[in-house]
């Protein structure tokens, strides 16, 4: 079995949420690795991936907020 790193696990754990899936209108097949998610057109998947990735990279709350806010404003 391929090694699944922590970020991927995190991504799955958050996205595999029925309510979120209903809300975001996506299904589990659309969830891939973190990199795939960052490329996704689905703004929910993408936003979650960004939050996870950027936090891991050490972004501060302020920075991340700006990014996510902008992203969502553009894509929602």
């Amino acid at each position: 079995m391929a090694y699944i790193n922590n970020t991927d696990k995190m991504l799955h754990a958050v996205l595999m949420n029925e309510r979120l899936m209903e809300f975001g209108k996506y299904d589990h097949s659309e969830i891939g690795t973190i990199y795939q998610a960052l490329d996704s057109d689905n703004h929910v998947i993408n936003a979650v991936a960004q939050i996870i990735k950027r936090t891991e990279e050490g972004a501060s709350e302020k920075e991340l907020w700006k990014e996510i806010n902008e992203y969502l404003k553009r894509n929602v």
């Binding site: 922590n6 696990k9 995190m10 754990a13 958050v14 996205l15 949420n17 309510r19 979120l20 809300f23 975001g24 703004h43 929910v44 936003a47 979650v48 939050i51 996870i52 936090t55 891991e56 709350e61 991340l64 907020w65 996510i68 806010n69 969502l72 404003k73 929602v76």
Partner: protein, 723 residues
């Protein structure tokens, strides 16, 4: 990591250089009683592993070693461990100490060295570095336990957090949950702000917003009230539980006390009965001293009787003699009376002596009137007759005097013998029976006292049993004092009422909360449903919605993660619990989350009820099972295990299970070093029981000949008693 050897030199009670332990890959037991050096063993290890200390302390040095140093002489303290962790490594912490005066010492710098093999070479490394790498502080927390109270790892909340962080599937949720929550709030604030400036909806938005704020505020207060009531209900429940436990204890206590009083009354009664007769005083007061007197009394009586008899006989003899003599006199008298020519004394019709004398001196017979011539026959006849008469009278007088004398003769002027006889009689009859009965009276009394004594012993034994029962009860009841147990538990009723009221109030508050939240939701929905003019507002609303959902999803994922981790740990722990308990009842471990994000370890029986007061041994097995489960995680995550080192008083298991228990632990593929006071009875190791073990066993012991008041005489000896 597997510990191979440990050497302790001059650390506290471990005097000298001969304190050496070699450990198996499985279980090694170290036997010792309190005070033998068990705690010091742990402290030596803790000292070794503590990477924060940087200097030696003279307090750690063996007093005995210190006292034997000459002034100017020095020695060293050291703790050394060799272990396997990706190759053979070792670590040693030491410092020197020197005696500078009678009471003064100096310590050298602390040396903390490590060695590891690099290929085939042995390389020296910094000890702190080596320990941080191989046996860091986090792992130590789940590996080394000085006392049994430390075994409950979840007493410390951060421990669980760290475990989850390190070992759960997914780490670092906390930060993300925080961030996403913050984003949700920020986006909400921005959205509302926009709303307020939108011309179409601003007024309604404002109104709604105000109402939302209002309701939110009330909800916050409501939540706070609920928390308060919930915690006071918890307190009531705890107190009630305590009281109910105490109630049961109290009732048992009162019953024991009642029995005790009854027995005490009995004891006092018997004691009084036994002491009611003082043997020494009874010798006199009850005349028990006369128990051997009957024969003497008989002697006395016989003597008195004999004396009386003799006296009477003598008296009789005497009387007889007296009568004889009197009789003789009488005869003489009679003879005397017939002396003068057969004539008796002057007959009554003749003149008496006076008249005769008159007649003679007047020379005339006063009978016939004739003169009496001197020397005539009549005259001489009368004179003779007068002489006779006088003689007769004199003799009679003499006779009578003699007779009187005889009669006056008394043989026994005294009557002491009669007195004796009277005494003898008075001491007869009922007195004599009394004296005869004394010996039996004594026997009877003694038998009675013996019976009382044996009954008293029975009662005293019962009292001892009751005392033991009472002691056991008080021990079980824990810290409850006798005074508390005696109190009347009407308190329970009062508390029930209070708890009932609180629960009612809680239900009310919850209902209020629910309705408020519903109101809030509908207000928010209304707010949401407002159709703002500006698209900007709409965008912000949508952004907020997304972030709201995302935040919830993160929260949920975190909870899920924790839940899964705990469930896995629970599963593993229960596997170990079953192995360690074998056929014994063991229940099931459940890891229960409490309100404030902490976890409690609870034990449940198979029908779902909680075992709220597990016994000492049940607790120990529980904690050990969890520790094994945790070490399994380490094994999985780090691919490296570490030993469990702890002090376990499995004495609560009872002798039967000891060797079974340890042999089971030995069969688990984990290194355990257990320090215990098991297998020691009255200071001696039960070697026959130790033989049944499959692991190496050491015995640590305070060497004999120590003075409890002088630390310098105390040293711990280390002996291997089984391979």
């Amino acid at each position: 990591m597997i510990i191979k050897e440990i050497k302790i030199k001059n650390f506290r009670s471990y005097y000298g250089d001969n304190n050496f332990f070699k450990f198996s890959d499985g279980l090694t037991l170290i036997l010792g009683e309190n005070g033998d050096g068990k705690t010091t063993f742990f402290e030596a290890l803790q000292w070794l592993f503590n990477t924060t200390i940087d200097k030696g302390n003279i307090e750690s040095v063996s007093e005995m070693r210190k006292s034997k140093l000459e002034i100017g002489e020095h020695d060293e303290v050291s703790v050394y461990m060799s272990f396997e962790h990706d190759g053979i490594k070792s670590v040693e912490k030491s410092f020197t100490f020197e005696r500078t005066g009678e009471y003064t010492y100096k310590v050298g710098p602390l040396i903390f060295r490590g060695y590891e093999t690099n290929g085939s070479e042995r390389v020296q490394v910094n000890g702190k570095y080596l320990i941080d790498r191989c046996y860091d502080a986090f792992i130590q927390r789940f590996s080394l336990f000085k006392g049994e109270s430390e075994l409950n790892v979840f007493n410390d909340r951060t421990a669980l957090k760290q475990l989850v962080d390190k070992f759960s599937d997914i780490r670092k949720f906390d930060e993300l949950v925080e961030f996403t929550k913050a984003f949700e709030e920020k986006s909400n604030a921005a959205y509302l702000k926009e709303m307020r400036s939108d011309d179409r909806v601003s007024r309604e938005a404002k109104i709604l917003e105000n109402r939302i704020m209002d309701v939110s505020q009330k909800i916050t207060e409501n939540r706070r009230d609920i928390r308060e009531i919930e915690s006071s209900i918890e307190v009531f429940s705890m107190k009630l539980e305590e009281l109910e436990a105490n109630q049961e204890t109290s009732e048992r206590y009162k019953e024991i006390e009642a029995r005790r009083k009854t027995q005490e009354e009995k004891r006092n009664k018997f004691k009084a009965l036994i002491s009611s007769v003082d043997y020494n005083h009874s010798l006199l007061d009850k005349q028990w001293i006369l128990c051997a007197f009957p024969d003497i009394l008989k002697e006395f009586k016989d003597k008195c009787s004999a004396l009386s008899k003799e006296k009477r006989k003598l008296e009789r003899d005497f009387d007889k003699k007296q009568a004889e003599e009197l009789g003789k006199l009488k005869a003489v008298e009679e003879i005397q009376n017939t002396l003068v020519n057969g004539t008796a004394g002057l007959p009554w019709y003749l003149p008496n002596q006076e008249t005769l004398e008159e007649m003679l001196s007047d020379r005339i017979c006063k009978v016939c009137g004739r003169p009496i011539e001197e020397d005539s026959d009549a005259y001489n006849f009368m004179v003779a007759k007068l002489e006779d008469y006088k003689r007769h009278v004199a003799m009679k007088l003499k006779n009578e005097t003699e007779a009187q004398q005889i009669q006056e003769q008394i043989l026994f002027p005294n009557s002491h013998i009669e007195d004796l006889h009277n005494l003898s009689i008075s001491l007869s009859g009922s007195n004599q029976s009394f004296v005869s009965g004394i010996a039996q009276e004594i026997v009877d009394r003694r038998e009675l006292v013996d019976r009382y004594r044996s009954e008293l012993k029975t009662v005293e034994d019962k009292l001892q049993d009751i005392q033991d029962e009472k002691a056991r009860l008080l021990i079980q009841a824990g810290n409850v004092s006798e005074a508390v147990l005696e109190k009347d538990f009407n308190d329970i009723r009062g508390l029930f009422k209070q708890k009932g009221k609180a629960e009612v109030r809680l239900a009310e508050l919850k209902a209020e909360l629910a309705s408020k939240e519903a109101t809030l939701k509908s207000l928010k929905d209304e707010l949401d449903a407002l159709d703002p003019n500006s698209s900007q507002v709409r965008v912000m609303r949508d952004v907020h919605r997304v972030l709201d959902e995302i935040s919830k999803a993160f929260g949920h994922a975190k909870e899920e993660n924790l839940r899964r981790f705990l469930s896995e740990m629970e599963e593993k722990a229960n596997e170990y619990l079953e192995t360690l308990s074998a056929t014994d009842f063991h229940g099931r471990i459940r890891l229960v989350q409490t309100a404030n994000e902490s976890t409690e370890i609870k034990l449940f029986s198979s029908n779902g009820t909680e075992i709220s007061k597990p016994s000492g041994s049940q607790k120990t097995v529980m904690y050990i099972s969890i520790l094994f489960a945790i070490s399994d995680f380490t094994q999985e995550k780090r691919d490296e295990d570490y030993p469990l080192i702890f002090d376990a008083a499995t004495s609560s298991f009872g002798d039967v299970k000891e060797d079974y228990f340890y042999n089971v632990i030995n069969s688990i593929k984990k290194q355990c070093i257990i320090v215990t006071k098991d297998f020691i009875t009255k200071g001696k190791v039960r070697l026959s029981d130790v033989e049944r073990l499959n692991c190496p066993v050491y015995r640590i012991k305070k060497a004999d000949g120590f003075d409890a008041n002088n630390l310098a005489t105390i040293r711990t000896t280390v002996d291997k008693i089984k391979e």
